[in-house]
């Protein structure tokens, strides 16, 4: 039955001819493990194509949706991280196997007549794989994608005539929506088509010229030991594919797929590093500073490409024997060692670069947070708009809406009420005691009754003590209080300056009572209603927000000011060093 069906199909479709073309023929000298690399590459390409199509089921190429859709497919869609991870590691695997394939071909002298076109089409295929990596890496439009794209565009543009190439590739002189649509079109249509056509030519030529038999065998011996390609050589190829597949599987699971950094943010200071297979070129760039840069960017890589292309002509040896081609083999070995050495230097440099390592750790934390926030959905502005899901963003929006008319925060806002940039720190307390009339405090309001204290009335040392005391009244939020200094300050406060005449500790008070001043609870009361008897009473000009804002919103604003103070206190000066 099966036989008849096969005969029927073969009659109509010519399957026999097809399979004879694909897996027929024999391997002179017998099947060998070292002939498997091309087949592993074919396997990897088919798997990459399959995974790429799957990724396209969810990925959306635009500046507003690229990151969000990648985060969605990676973190929410079932198995998404695995499919993306396998695609990512598959690219690395292709590069590794290409190098092995190339080394085997060079060692066997398989680039020589009559296989020059096999060699060139192979080089072109390798070039396409590099372009795949080049156009694929930017697609998620995360920090890594954005910044390495900036650098690569810069490299291309600095080559002679490179600006036109760059503008064509990324759709203009700036990166943006067109960059992603172009890279996407190249990555999923142009390059796969080119790769498929060239791979077809490559396979056709392999069939036409056959594998290159081991040079140690005479033609007769090779023919005598020949084995059929199917199944002998194909079996070895499939075993090699399986080995590669298992390594990829383990790598993907062990790394939980591929990195996805926080969304592209042109205003951040992310340190871009290329993928491992571009590290050699990256290190080469660093070797040639200034006017010599062109050497690292264009001359050396161009010379290498030209050398590989011209290899069939450069090789003038009489035979394929390695001993007859020592020069060629040495040159290839030198190139490979050079690339490995440069990459190793780059890796060691980076490992020893503490600032970079800290930056990477920071980037990883930021990525984790952004991806968590993205699970609620990313706002339509896309990418960095994911931070709008952050409560910090919401409270800042609240501040802009209700507070920024009168109060300055991070350099933005009105100047009627106190500015919040270092609000509540020791320095702030000292400054307001010294000169309460400074517009950064209550300059625009009715609080003008407190007298300034020039140095003659209160020396810097005593001011420091008084500030420490007032600062300490904040309670638990006060950081690293020097209690001795504060005690001395209290004495000056009570006896010499008689501050307590206006500022009670608690309860009804002419000026605000100072117990708990600056703490979150105190700030909440101020925001809710600053005219309370122990606060600003009849001089309060700030609107009462109780009723206008929910208690949660008021709490969030108070917490924001508290964080702001902690940020200003930053490096946590030891007690007393503040003034």
């Amino acid at each position: 039955m099966a036989g008849r069906l096969r005969a029927w199909l073969d009659d109509r479709l010519g399957l026999g001819v097809l399979s004879e073309w694909a897996v027929g023929g024999s391997v002179p000298g017998g099947a060998r493990l070292r002939y498997v690399f091309g087949w592993v590459l074919l396997y990897l390409f088919i798997q990459q194509a399959f995974l790429g199509i799957l990724l396209a089921f969810y990925y959306s190429p635009s500046v507003t949706s690229a990151w969000a859709s990648t985060a969605y497919l990676n973190d929410q869609v079932v198995g998404g991280w695995f499919i993306r991870g396998l695609h990512y590691h598959g690219a690395s695997a292709m590069i590794v196997v290409i190098v092995l394939h190339l080394l085997q071909v060079v060692f066997a002298g398989a680039y020589r007549k009559p296989r020059e076109v096999n060699w060139w089409s192979g080089l072109a295929l390798a070039g396409i794989v590099i372009l795949f990596a080049f156009t694929g890496y930017p697609l998620p439009w995360d920090q890594g994608a954005y910044w390495s794209t900036q650098v690569r565009s810069g490299i291309i543009a600095s080559a002679p005539g490179g600006e036109v190439v760059r503008d064509l590739m990324q759709g203009g002189s700036e990166t943006g929506n067109l960059t992603l649509t172009r890279y996407y079109a190249l990555h999923v249509f142009v390059l796969p088509l080119a790769f498929t056509l060239l791979a077809g030519l490559h396979l056709y030529l392999r069939r036409r010229h056959g594998p290159t038999p081991p040079v140690t065998l005479s033609d007769e011996e090779a023919a005598a030991r020949a084995q059929p390609f199917w199944p002998n050589q194909l079996f070895l190829a499939v075993v090699a594919m399986a080995l590669c597949g298992v390594i990829l599987l383990v790598a993907t699971i062990a790394t939980h797929g591929s990195e996805l950094y926080a969304p592209a943010d042109p205003s951040s200071n992310f340190t871009a590093r290329p993928e491992w297979y571009f590290l050699g070129l990256y290190q080469l760039l660093k070797l040639f500073p200034g006017p010599l840069a062109i050497v690292g960017k264009v001359v050396i890589p161009g010379a290498l490409a030209a050398f590989l292309f011209a290899l069939p002509w450069v090789d003038r040896a009489e035979s394929r024997r390695p001993r007859a081609r020592l020069g060629i083999l040495a040159a290839i070995a030198a190139i490979l060692s050079g690339a490995v050495a440069l990459s190793a230097v780059a890796i060691v440099d980076d490992a020893n670069n503490e600032a970079l390592q800290e930056g990477l750790a920071e980037a990883a934390k930021e990525a984790e947070k952004a991806r968590e926030l993205a699970k609620e959905g990313v706002p339509p502005a896309g990418g960095v708009a994911v931070w709008e899901n952050d409560p910090e963003f919401a409270v800042r929006a609240l501040f802009r809406e209700h507070c920024a008319n009168c109060h300055l925060l991070d350099g933005k806002g009105g100047e009627e009420g106190p500015s919040f940039d270092d609000y509540g720190t020791r320095e702030w307390v000292a400054a307001i005691i010294r000169n309460p009339a400074d517009p950064r405090f209550y300059g625009g309001t009715k609080h003008n009754t407190m007298e300034p204290l020039p140095v003659d009335d209160l020396g810097d040392d005593d001011l420091r003590a008084v500030s420490e005391y007032v600062y300490s009244l904040m309670g638990e939020s006060a950081k690293a209080v020097d209690s001795e200094l504060a005690a001395r300050g209290k004495a000056i406060y009570d006896d010499k300056l008689e501050c307590s005449g206006c500022h009670e500790l608690e309860g009804e008070s002419t000026g605000p009572a100072l117990k708990g001043r600056g703490s979150v609870d105190w700030l909440k009361r101020i925001i809710a209603d600053s005219s309370a008897a122990d606060l600003y009473t009849d001089t309060a000009e700030m609107p009462k927000f109780t009723g206008k804002l929910t208690p949660e919103e008021i709490e969030a604003l108070a917490q924001l000011l508290d964080r702001q103070r902690q940020k200003a206190e930053g490096g946590a000066p030891a007690a007393g060093e503040g003034a």
């Binding site: 969810y58 859709s69 998404g80 194909l234 959905g377 339509p380």
Partner: protein, 177 residues
């Protein structure tokens, strides 16, 4: 090895190799194929698009009467990876019937075209497949399997709110999805 081949004893060995190619190759195919199933089928058992739900304001009570009025309903929406605030999620025809407000979804129960109103004939019409509905939503003519889908309406003081919903299409029974 070469001798085996010559002697023809290799044929069983070759069969083993052929089986090996099939088994290993098949197993290799499973690596990307197996996860692909759950990945592609993800929307089947996950809510991909969702909106806040609840009653959405559509206008003042005095704006509605015996003549149907079409209102647009706005709500926050999550569509796969995107969360949008206050986007149009649908619309409804609002009409006063026997002193009470009724709202009909503008989605035709037949195949989901937009229901229109013909003021001269005083009928709701689905222009795609020529279904006609009375002012109370009943099918008068055409392929629609059921009456227009009524939405929950609430009068909150002067304000009219509607709970927007979508229903399974093409069935006799009205079933919210």
């Amino acid at each position: 090895m070469a001798d085996d081949e010559k002697a023809g004893e290799g044929s069983s060995r070759r069969t083993m190799l052929k089986i090996g190619v099939g088994v290993i190759g098949g197993g290799l195919g499973l690596i990307p194929l197996a996860p692909a199933i759950g990945y592609v089928a993800f929307p089947l058992d996950h809510k991909v698009t969702s909106s806040g739900g609840g009653f959405l304001p559509c206008g003042k009570r005095k704006g509605f009467g015996a003549e149907p009025v079409k209102v647009d309903l706005f709500a926050d929406q999550v569509d796969a990876w995107q969360r949008s605030k206050d986007v149009k999620i649908g619309s409804a025809w609002v009409i006063e019937l026997d002193g009470n407000l009724t709202a009909f979804s503008t989605v035709c129960p037949h195949l989901g075209c937009a229901i229109d109103f013909d003021p001269s004939a005083k009928k709701f019409i689905c222009p795609c497949h020529k279904s006609f509905f009375s002012l109370s939503g009943a099918v008068e003519e055409g392929p629609s399997p059921r009456a227009l889908d009524a939405l929950d309406v609430k009068e909150d003081g002067d304000l009219v709110t509607i709970r927007y919903a979508r229903f399974r299409q093409g069935t006799d029974a009205k079933e919210e999805v």
